[in-house]
Amino acid sequence: MSETATANPILDKNVIVPFGHSVVECFKKMIGVEIKIGRPKLRPDNKATYDVSGIVGYSGDLVGYVVLSLPLETASKLVDKFAGYHVDPDSGDFTDGIGEFSNWVVGGAKANLGGVISMSCPAVVIGTGHKIAHLSDVPCITLPCSSEQGEFCVEVNVKRTVK
């Protein structure tokens, strides 16, 4: 069973809050979509929450990865809105859009996480039930997001390498 942020002290709000702010700001500024953020939860296993994952890694003073996880339908609606036309989910433009969304969210949060952090280029995985292995010594935290285009989430599995 997943636990909420208030029930579990290992959810570090200084790490989670920047992602909430980033996802709201990115989608509003870049594609005019309002996002509402739900209460963070612990992800119980390594199965991806939804069908589409945009994955970006961190290295430096913070290591780990962040996943923008979306149902295919929501992802498609958001990419269409960004592109201004219908983008075939099997096309390179679709993965391009998901990668760019991930880049915005993870890059936007990075500026408010402190320290010197580098980020990888995004990787995109599409497929129902795919798994993403996470760092075993830190929790993977899911930040639920909702929009007119549907629900999705940001999964954060990072740890600081410096105090």
């Binding site: 509003k28 870049m30 391009d96 760019e100 880049n103 936007g108 500026a111 980020m119 280029c121």
Partner: protein, 129 residues
């Protein structure tokens, strides 16, 4: 005006072009998907050099910062504007030291993006006059 947009996301390149056109910028656009392609486009301009280059930071093959450093080895004049999610102060300082003329953080407000591009273009035109 000729503007080269260097970004590994085609959709982002399209979005930047549309934002500039909608914002009243009249330009001929060139595109490149990474720093290597960007450098090639910058060098092989077919007799019509770019009047402004927009460069993403994080790209495969060659990052934008390295592309800017390469251009600045021999060209101090072409205006280079970084458009990136990298918003930390030390990153901006690094880019300024490499010789950029402007820095725009993604996500950006469309009006602010257009305003910055116009500002850099105008400053360059004034210097050239």
């Amino acid at each position: 005006m000729r503007i080269l947009i260097v970004d590994d996301s085609k959709l982002m390149r399209n979005a930047m072009k549309k934002t500039l056109v909608d914002g009243g910028v009249t330009a001929e656009f060139g595109e490149a998907g990474d720093g290597v392609e960007g450098l090639a486009a910058y060098k092989n301009h077919g007799g019509k050099p770019y009047s402004l280059i927009l460069v993403d930071w994080n790209m495969p093959n060659m990052v934008g910062l390295d592309m800017i450093k390469q251009i600045r080895l021999s060209d101090r004049n072409t205006p280079l504007v970084m458009v990136t999610t990298e918003a930390e102060k030390h990153r901006i300082v690094e880019a300024v030291k490499a010789g950029i003329n402007g820095y725009i953080v993604k996500p950006f407000d469309p009006a602010a993006f257009v305003g910055k591009v116009k500002e850099v273009a105008a400053a360059t035109a004034k210097r050239a006059a």
